[in-house]
Symmetry: C2
Subunit: 98 residues, 2 copies
Amino acid sequence: MLIKTPKEIGLLVRDRRKARRWTQDALAQRLGVSRLWVVQLEQGKSTAQIGLVLRALNELDVPMQVDITPKDPAARVAASGGIDLDNIIRETSTPYRA
Amino acid sequence: MLIKTPKEIGLLVRDRRKARRWTQDALAQRLGVSRLWVVQLEQGKSTAQIGLVLRALNELDVPMQVDITPKDPAARVAASGGIDLDNIIRETSTPYRA
DNA sequence: CGTCATTGTCAGCGATCAATAACAATGCGA
DNA sequence: TCGCATTGTTATTGATCGCTGACAATGACG
């Protein structure tokens, strides 16, 4: 399922929340936000903060993904769990750096 | 690539932007936001508004997706491009509704 | 129907986003 | 190295987020 708009996120959150038979209040408490915020998120609020939205999706075990392999090493590191051999080698093999 | 944090989004945006050889300023103008906002997004700003973030990803042709098929018809509709036969049938076959 | 749980809406308020502007830092080719 | 483009940082400010609290609407169930 492709995600292009906040409205789609809202419907998805509502669906996954209901699949678990959680109330909006229960989800809100898990996320550390108000119930009002959950209401508005499910309604497709476009101004919700990305950090909170991602936390909600994680709490509901909804994996967000992109089918792209970044060219930038730093981005690949983030994609692969935090291990960047290239960088480690470079960092530890550069001599005479005051 | 799995997306779990705003930081990953930032690195991804930077990577895709550079792949197109756009400046932060150019991307900002396409999105209708300030350059400062792009700077902060790429730095992993967790308070960026979801609507703007999705617009940025769309502008960079980065498809966000989840591998879930919602049970709620409304959510499936959003997922499949806006056609909901079930709903159309129900709506058009309910007689005598004042 | 009556009751209770859940969800939706509104008002008011402190905290903070995103914008603008100015300037510093970095990068990169000539 | 110099000069220019790009990126990063800071301060300020109007607009608005997310919160609390209260109340209405909806839904589920006996």
